[in-house]
Amino acid sequence: MNAMIETKNVTKTFGMNGVAVEAVRGVDLAVAAGEFVAIVGPSGSGKSSLLHMLGAMDQPTSGEVFFRGRALSGLGDGARTNLRAREIGFIFQTFNLLPMLNAFENVEIVTRFGSLPRAERVSRAREMITLVGLGQRMRHQPRYLSGGERQRVAIARALVNRPGLILADEPTGNLDSKTGTGILELLREVCNREQQTVIMVTHDFRAASYADRVLVLRDGRIRGEAELKGAADTHRTLNQLLELELQ
């Protein structure tokens, strides 16, 4: 498989009050281009720490992360920043929109860090805002948008530079179930239409059901994995994974 991103024996250890805490332990994973992968686990399982390393925001204590075959450990801060600008789109649980900018500006600003020519930035931002269904709300600041709408803006922001990879950290964590479903459906649609690679971290198995593949993370290790795409009985597969998580 030509992996978009993969890890080899990645470990992350934090020092807390003199005590070493292994958040991630020897994780090997590979995500193919265009694949939608969900990483599921309870709180404290290490999924966010893993996501940070995949997104070049943090460095593993040991092991290696490869993006399009290129090791991230050798990259300096500037190169990792550049990578995040051009190749990785982030969707945060708390949306993390800039409050003083309106919806359109929140999407447009990211285009300044990417590789889009100046003339294309505005049209691309407008295209993404419209894609997520907020064409009529693009001049509204985040405080005038609902939670679901804010997350849609965040999705548009993540997509605008045509990144190779989307990383979503609990994208429905702050939303009600109905709104969350809408977001997940949008992510799924984006993945299908744009052939976008998506890695979503969540504690919700129901959210994970939208993915092509689910990985169960517990105590920093991958405990189980299942393909949902093409699965005969998705519910049963997920239930098996849930049992794995609870063991």
């Binding site: 925001m57 920043t81 550049n82 051009r86 982030f90 945060f92 993390n96 003083m100 600003i109 990417g114």
Partner: protein
């Protein structure tokens, strides 16, 4: 690159931004004011000295006059026979030389400047000794009767009756030491020493102020300027108890005084600039603390460190520049009032440019600490705020 975000941050906290701008404007204004005072002071002193070109002022040794910070030492006293001997010296232009007596009517608040109002007793017919080339704007520049006075412009304003709106004019009567005097001349605008003067006959001044025979100094005008150094040396040799000051001597003394004042004012002005820097630094540091999550988000989505630096520095610079711009109208008023003191239009423009430059320096220096703090914000900060 992120200047629009910087401006939106400032706009979002309008009151804080406005107060900071006012603070910077006040600091810049104080800086300009002290610059203006320095310029005025320097020019005022140099103007007085300029009036003594070609002259020698002979008076009592300065160290024998205790506590005097007057420009013209009204405390000096020469023996009448010494004064007469000086006036009989070879090589002087007698009509342009005179015995003088000075009496301070009102003190100047600033040290080493002429009194606010000064009575100058001069020998009638020898007014030129004191006035030199200064002319009257009305009346005459000679005294013909004992009860006549010639006033400088500031002195004319000083003696303006309270119920009048205009200063005294030629023909008006003023009262000094309960005696009435007729104003026969008003000087043209002149340096302070002359503008503040009430010129009257020497004997009248001695009588009115109960100082019979008193001579404060003798002003000698050399018949030829080239002879002045020789004249000075001869007098100094013959009368070691006296001080003979030419324009050069006065300039040297003034330079020492001005040097000290420059250092004093520079200390004040530098302190003002430091205060302005501290004001802006505090405000931008607080702004960066408030913006940590936003900075973390921007870094997470690909903003480079220098973009963040520019965003923070931009806020500091804009606050400082707006403060300078706010200070400019007041600076215009100040410089218009003292425009001639600043050396005309080019001097005024120089002050404005100086203002902007100081503001930019304040902004840049004030941005260092908060920008450094902003550069240290980790992208993971964006993910830690719940």
């Amino acid at each position: 690159m992120l200047w629009d975000i910087a401006m939106k941050h400032l706009w979002r906290k309008k009151l804080r931004s406005l107060l900071t701008i006012v603070g910077v404007a006040t600091s810049v204004q104080m800086y300009l004011t002290f610059t203006g005072i320095m310029v005025l002071y320097r020019n005022a002193i140099n103007d007085q000295i300029g009036a003594f070109a070609g002259k020698a002022v002979v008076q009592q040794q300065m160290e024998k006059i205790s506590g005097s910070t007057d420009f013209t030492s009204s405390g000096s006293s020469l023996k009448p026979e010494t004064a007469d001997a000086l006036l009989a010296w070879n090589g002087i232009d007698r009509p342009a030389s005179s015995k003088m007596v000075y009496v301070t009517i009102a003190r100047n608040l600033m040290p080493y400047l002429p009194p606010a109002v000064l009575v100058v007793g001069v020998e009638p017919g020898h007014e030129k000794a004191f006035l030199g080339g200064f002319q009257v704007v009305a009346g005459r520049s000679t005294l013909q009767n004992p009860d006549e006075v010639i006033l400088g412009q500031s002195a004319a304003e000083y003696y303006r009756p309270k119920d009048q709106t205009k200063p005294v004019a030629v023909g008006d009567s003023i009262e000094i030491q309960s005696q009435a005097f007729v104003v026969v001349g008003i000087l043209k605008p002149a340096p302070q020493l002359f503008s503040n003067s009430v010129i009257m006959p020497l004997q009248t001044a001695q009588t009115v102020f109960d100082r019979p025979g008193a001579v404060s100094s003798v002003i000698l005008t050399a018949a030829s300027i080239a002879d002045l150094p020789k004249l000075k040396a001869e007098i100094a040799a013959r009368h070691p108890e006296l001080t003979v000051s030419t324009q050069e001597d006065l300039q040297q003394t003034a330079n020492v005084l001005l040097d000290g004042m420059n250092k004093f004012f520079a200390l004040i002005m530098n302190s003002i600039v430091v205060v302005a820097i501290v004001i802006v630094t505090i405000v931008v540091v607080v702004a960066v603390m408030e913006q940590r999550k936003d900075i973390g988000t921007l870094r997470a989505v690909g903003a480079g460190r220098w973009s963040i630096f520019g965003m923070v520095a931009g806020q500091a610079l804009v606050l400082s520049l707006l403060g300078a711009i706010l200070a400019l109208p007041i600076a215009v008023l100040l410089t218009r009032w003292g425009m001639s003191e600043f050396g005309g239009l080019s001097g005024v423009l120089s002050v404005w440019l100086q203002t902007i430059l100081v503001a930019m320096i304040v902004g840049l220096l004030a941005s260092i600490l908060p920008a450094w703090q902003a550069l240290r914000v980790d992208p993971l900060e964006a993910l830690r705020y719940e």
